[in-house]
Each structure stands twice: as C-alpha cells, then as structure tokens.
C-alpha cells in the first residue's frame, strides 16, 4: 500500500503541527481549563479553592440564571425561523430571472460585512426613544413614540429585528449556493409541464435544498444561542434585565464580578444545551433527508 520511502504519518504530523500547536493552546487548553475551574471558587487574583459541584448546584438555585437562559431561548425562537425564511426568500430573489439580481445580492449581503458594534450602535440610534428616526417618523405621522429599546415588551424584538437585518444575508449565500446546485433539467421539465412559480418553489426548490436548510438551521441555532454583542450594545440587558441573555450573564459574572468558577459552570451548561440541541436536530432532520 504505502509507497516505499514515503513517511505519511510523520509528514502529516509535521505539516499539521503549526496549526495543532495554536489549536491546542487557544482552544483545547481553555476548554479543559474552563471545565476545571468550574469546580473551583476563584476570583482570578487569589488562589482557587476547590468546591466540587457547588457552582453547578448554586446555578440551579439562581433565578437570574433561569431568566437569562429563557431570554436566550426567546431570542432563538424569535430569530431562527425569520432568518431562515428571509434568507431563503432573498436567495430565491437573487437566483431568479430578475435583471436586478446582481444589485440585490450585494444589497442583501452588505450588512453582514459590518461589525457587530457598528450594526448595533447604528440601530440603537435609529431606535432611540427621543431622538431616533423611527420615533421621529412615528411622531410626525401622529403616533406616540415607542420605547423600542426601553420597553420590556419591545426590546427583544428590536434586537431580533436588528439581527435579522444584519445576518440574513449570510443565510442567503448558503441558500443560493444550494439552489444553484439543483440541476437545471428539473426546472425545465417542470416548466414544460406547466408548473406555476409557486409550485416550482414548493415542489422542487424547497425539497431539493433540504440539506442546506438543515445546515442553515443548525448553524443558526448555534449562532442565536451565543447571542451577546447586539444585546449588550443595544439594551445593555435592559430594561431591568429583561433582555439579559445567558452569555451576557456569563460575561458579567466572569469579568465584572470575577466569579470565574461560577461563570465557567454556566458556560458548560450552555455548551451542553447547544450540544444536545445540535445532535437532536442532526439526528431528526439529517436522517430523514438521507432516507
């Protein structure tokens, strides 16, 4: 089998070594270290003291942990379906016959290249209660101002809307790649048979991009579970903590209150939740598609 004189194992290891070193230092080590300190009480400055599973017990008694986790779920439920649908609709628009499809593709994707801070700051200004352009327009047309970011019923939706504007373009790219892979002949024969546009989308495009949909769904759920930046910049978790998401709580306990162990324990719970959801999604959706 092996070519004489060719030392695949050695060469392979040598070639991947530069990456592996970086990977071990910046990924594996922090992962293991995080798990270890989740069993300790540690404020960075002092000596860690071992407290076993106490951090995990404590967090199941912590109402702030539950509320933050719930806000994260809320955000996932608000954004995931909308982001998939909008991404798919955009992909349909840019893979269709419109003469503007090149322009549209750029317009839809451009928001995605901005950094989180830029997008969030921009939208925070647009939605600002007293001076923002949304409320200026509302007041000018005779409506009362809306507390986009300061009302507890509106705030999470406002953050979700911003996220939709910001990241839908990425799903569009994935979906349009998926759509372009569908053989032309399928569409042609449907056309000859006199299928309407809607029938084509429903009976051909949707089933045939299913693998892409599963990929998008899993990526999107993971991304939405990790939401932090937009919330932190736009609402600061307010009003009164009603948009505080789990990653924000992890950040605050770790780097504001310096409870490193407790913070790490919460990270591991979040990790487990995402892991379980991703595996379940993959098994349920991935299997069906193979069958």
């Amino acid at each position: 089998m092996a070519i004489p004189g060719n030392k695949d194992t050695r060469d392979g290891l040598l070639f991947s070594l530069p990456f592996l070193i970086v990977f071990v230092i910046f990924m594996i080590f922090p992962l293991v270290f995080g798990l270890i300190i989740s069993f300790f009480n540690w404020n960075i400055l002092g000596t860690p003291s071992f407290i076993g599973l106490e951090n995990y017990f404590a967090l199941f008694r912590d109402s702030k942990f539950y509320s933050s986790l719930w806000h994260t779920f809320e955000f996932v439920l608000m954004t995931t379906p909308a982001l998939l649908l909008l991404g798919f609709a955009m992909a349909l628009a840019v893979t269709g016959g419109s003469p503007l499809k090149g322009v549209m593709e750029n317009v839809f994707f451009v928001p995605y290249i901005f950094s989180m801070t830029v997008v969030s700051t921009l939208w925070a200004w647009i939605m600002q209660k007293d001076f923002g352009i949304f409320n200026q327009l509302l007041v000018a047309t005779g409506h009362g101002p809306v507390g986009w970011l300061t009302n507890e019923k509106m705030a999470m939706w406002s953050v979700a809307l911003t996220t939709l504007w910001w990241t839908a373009g990425f799903n569009m790219v994935l979906f349009s790649a998926g759509i372009k892979q569908i053989p032309k002949e399928v569409y042609e024969s449907a056309q000859i048979d006199g299928a309407s546009w809607w029938q084509v989308v429903r009976k051909i495009t949707v089933p045939l991009v299913a693998p892409t949909t599963v990929l998008c769904l899993i990526l999107q759920v993971i991304a939405s579970f990790n939401v932090f930046g937009q919330v932190y910049v736009m609402t600061g978790g307010g009003p009164y903590g009603t948009t505080r998401v789990l990653v924000q709580y992890i950040y605050e306990t770790g780097f504001k209150y310096f409870k490193m162990g407790y913070s790490a324990a919460m990270s591991y719970i979040l990790f487990l939740i995402i892991l379980v959801i991703s595996v379940v999604q993959y098994l349920l959706l991935g299997r069906k598609e193979e069958a």
């Binding site: 960075i44 970011l149 009003p239 209150y257």
Partner: protein, 420 residues
Amino acid sequence: MKGKVSLVLLAVFLSMGLLFAQGAKEPASSGPVEITFWSLFTGGDGEFFDAMVKEYNESQNKVVMKNDTVKFDNYYTKLTTALAAGNAPDVIVVHQGNMLPYVQNGSLLALNDYVDAEVLADFQEAPLSGCISDGKIYSLPLDVHPIVMYYNKDLMAQAGITKVPQTAQEFIDASLAVQKATGKWGLAIDNTTGVYKAYTLTRLFMSMLAQQGGSLLNADNTKANFSNAAGERALVWLQDLVHTYKVNPNELDYDAAMNVFKMGDAAFYFNGVWATGTLEQSGLNFGAAPLPGIMGDEPWAWAGSHTLAVPVQKNQDPRKVEAAVDFIEWMTGHGELWAKAGQIPTRKSVTEKAEFKALPYRADYAAAAAYALETPRTPAWEEIYGTMSDMLEEAVTKKLPAKQALANMEKKINGIIASY
C-alpha cells in the same frame, strides 16, 4: 520515528519558551526613569488627563510617564488579569469602590514609606480614608466625584422659582410649577437601562437613605439594610415623580436624561460632577450645587473617587516605585487641571489655588466632598450595585408596591453577599 516526532515537539515548545522570555527586557539604569500608566479616561476626561501627563513630563527630567488609554468597559478585566499575572503597569487608576479585592489579594503596594508626610497631611480626610485599610495606604485619591444637582436657570425663571428646591416636597412643587408654566419636564432622573444601567437610581437611593440616618448595607456590610421606612420613603418619592405627579419621564435612559437636560427640556437634573464639562459646552444657562438634603438635614451624597495606586510587581524596582509616587503626588497636587473635567480635587492646597477658584461651577459644589458617601467595602459591591440598579429600575418604571419590592431586593442582595 515516534521518538523523532516528540523530539521535534519538544524543540518547538522550548523555542517558544525562549520567544516569550525575550519579551521582558530590562531598561538601562541611567537617564530618566520610564514608567507606564493605564488610564480608563476617554473622551473629554481623557483629553484633560493626557494634557496633565504631558505637563508633568515637561515639568521635570527625572521621570518619563507613558500613558496608555484602555476602554472603560474592558478596563477592570484587563487590569485584573494583568495584576494576577504580575505584569501590570507602574501606576494604575482604580475607583475607591473597586479597590477592595485588589487589596485583599495583595496586588497593591502599601505606599506608607514612599509618600511625603507633608503631602499626606494635605489630603482631605474623607477621600483619603477610603484608600486606607488597616493603617496601610494602598492608593491616593485623585478626585472625588459625588452626585450633584444641576438646574436650568431659564426654566426656573419662567416658572417664577427664585429658590433652588431642597426637600422632597419642594422638588415636587417646583417641578409642577415648571411643568405648568413651560410644559417642560421638572426632573430628568434616568430610570432605565441603556448603554449604562440606571445607576442614578441607586446613587440617589443610597444618598437618601444616608440622609435619613440609614445606610444601604449594615455597618459590617454583611446584610442589606433598606427594607424599612427610610427605604420606602425614598422609593415612593422616586416613583411618585414619574407616576403620580408625572414630572419625570418614564423609560428614560442615562444618555437620554443627559440630552433632555442639555436641550433645556427639564429643570432639575442629578448626575455625577463629570457631567459639568459636557453641559458647559452645550451653552445651557445652568447652575450646579451639591446634592440637597432631599430627605434630611445632612446632605449625604453617593460619590465615587478615582485613586492612583502602584501595583505589586514580580521584580519591584524601587526607582520605579519612587518615580510612580512622584507622579501621583504631582497629579493630585495639580487637581485644578483635573477639575476642568468637572472633578473635585482632594488636596486642600488645590482648593485654595486661584486657578481652581476661578473655574465656574466647580467651586459651587466643592463643598459636597465633605458629605461624600464611601462605597461599602465588600467584594460583592459590583454585583450589588448592578442588581440594585436593575431592581430599582423595575420598581420605579413599573410602579411596583414599594414595601414588597424592597423586601424582594433585600432578599436578593443578602443572597449576593452570601455568595462571595
């Protein structure tokens, strides 16, 4: 072959160790001492601070200070990790309220043997005592920044108010008068999280508790101490302004409150002295005064204090420590320059200087330093401060029943203290 691979790995790790080790180079021991500083001051404050550092560097030729600004949001994260690793800069700025964990973990150098006795005697007692633990001086206060009152002179004149309100009732009466005469807001107390939490509510709440002879936490900072008549009176006043008298906007965040007052849409405004600089630039016709005794005769007011400290290093260079202390002495001794940012100087000789007395507004509220409340000394403070602000925000904006809300808050705060 396996042996070779592990040999290569070993070599790589060894060479990496060399790479990192070379990072720390010792400077030559002749010439001026170069010391470093991390500042959390940005924007207007940052400009005043940088100008002071420049003047210090030009005023003598023994020490060169290199100033590096860190974004406030990340400052304490960066500082704490650097202190833990023992490679913090030679001088750091720490809020008096954030010092405790660093002192407890031995991260700050006691300065008793380095500071000039004459300089020490020049400090005002209250701000300096906040920097001392068990007789050891761990930092020196650069400023005091209490919450103060700003008032719009034009709106007051239009409403026919000649005396600046002092008591809770006077604020309500004056605000109603302003609203009736001008249609503007009486007060602009921020009560909703935006870029910042509704810290103003906590600051006022703490101040009003102290004014009634109470305190947020008990004497040894082990329990909350506000679920009582004093707490209720303070919270109900804050709620009534928004809901009963409707003289303060609801769902108002920190930046919006500042804007409302700056644009002349509110008559009275409470914020830390750092707001003075911004308000000055707006061209508003306003006055400033210490926080009045809203709920009692003694006008206690929440206050923060920027202090300058010297971190403990792995290899402490005594020359650098001396240089650092020299820098700190100079900075505190030139508080009139820092007062341009609105802050109140901490040294008696500075408040006597003609340059300081000539600054508008600052002299009006300099007296507030005497009633500055010290931040409770508990490692749980940051979490208490944030949680109080969230819960007061809900209580005020949603008009929760005061008694029940305070009982819930007290329970929550006690739980937090117990978790440290």
